[in-house]
Symmetry: C2
Subunit: 222 residues, 2 copies
Amino acid sequence: MTVKVITVGEDILGANDAKARANKKRLDGHRILTVNIMSSPGAGKTSLILSTIKKLRDKVAIGVIEGDVASSVDAEKVNEMGIPVVQINTAGGCHLEAGMVEKALDDLPLEDIDLIFIENVGNLICPNAFALGEDRRIMISSLPEGDDKPHKYPAMFADTDTVLLNKIDLQPYLDFNSDSFAKVVTGLNPKAVIFPVSCKTGEGMADWFAWLESAVKDKKKK
Amino acid sequence: MTVKVITVGEDILGANDAKARANKKRLDGHRILTVNIMSSPGAGKTSLILSTIKKLRDKVAIGVIEGDVASSVDAEKVNEMGIPVVQINTAGGCHLEAGMVEKALDDLPLEDIDLIFIENVGNLICPNAFALGEDRRIMISSLPEGDDKPHKYPAMFADTDTVLLNKIDLQPYLDFNSDSFAKVVTGLNPKAVIFPVSCKTGEGMADWFAWLESAVKDKKKK
């Protein structure tokens, strides 16, 4: 495994931002809505993508970029649905960078796509600092993680457009306080929209689908 | 927020290892068992520490080092129990390093302590690469995260001594396959001990307490 170490490096962030802007320009040229999905490991990024493909595939042409430290299990699930997908393995790296996405875009049929999901590496800290060229950031937080997550990992919640609060089907078995969660999210990020959902039961998903479809349409008009 | 960026840096890891060895020597001098607890955000690190304090505090003198990106909510909970605790805030950093622990040790009454818990930053990727001077690594994985986590984040599971599989009280409401989880963990790490537990209900915790108390006693004998 390549050993990755944390250092402060504004030059690297600057270079990343330049590549992210280039990705954005390229995606804008195709009028593709690009959504960067971030969360802790196991919060439901892949489940959200799979549910959304099932619901919207007849109306919206979807492509997926899967980011993982190792393995391609998520990409295989997407591939089984007949959806174009590219797997990025970061070999120990804890987030995606714009240069990785740039290469992945070369392997997607951009002419035929309306919406790209980029599933970031499962991590509540570092992905936030790296723009990828996305139009929207979606942060998934799940009930079993606890209602204190926005308080403990504030940067991720502060920079997102939309928070999907997933696994609400487990509410009866958990001490999760939705009001307290929403209060801290709104304090960090007054514009954030919160969708309480269950990818498993489908509860609340209609609002997310409507929001996403509307964003895809808006992007087409631009 | 200080922006942190990933680069490859063997020199930094080497310097970290030297500090980790110095921490280990210092802790060995006091015959303190030191346990580095790692997991995803919300898997139950703090709950495990609090439950263990409750159970063992009459027999074992415990100290705690809390690592977080931001906030001191966990340290406050430990402090309320009258247990010596030091909070490390990494200001965006996604793991603890040995130098941070070195400073924290200065603020703990090492003469009077048998066991130190170091609660690492909630992250399934980077903490693994940074030795802190610990005797044991404990990895917590929780059922709601899914049984595919060892497959997707292998390094963390490969390098741990013990895996606590937490939140088993939620098994009836989840599609978690314990056999499949155990198989991948054992494949990565044949020596790893897996304790299925619920910090919430107490189920399975007796085995963990016994394991830990025995490790504390062994350290005293050395």
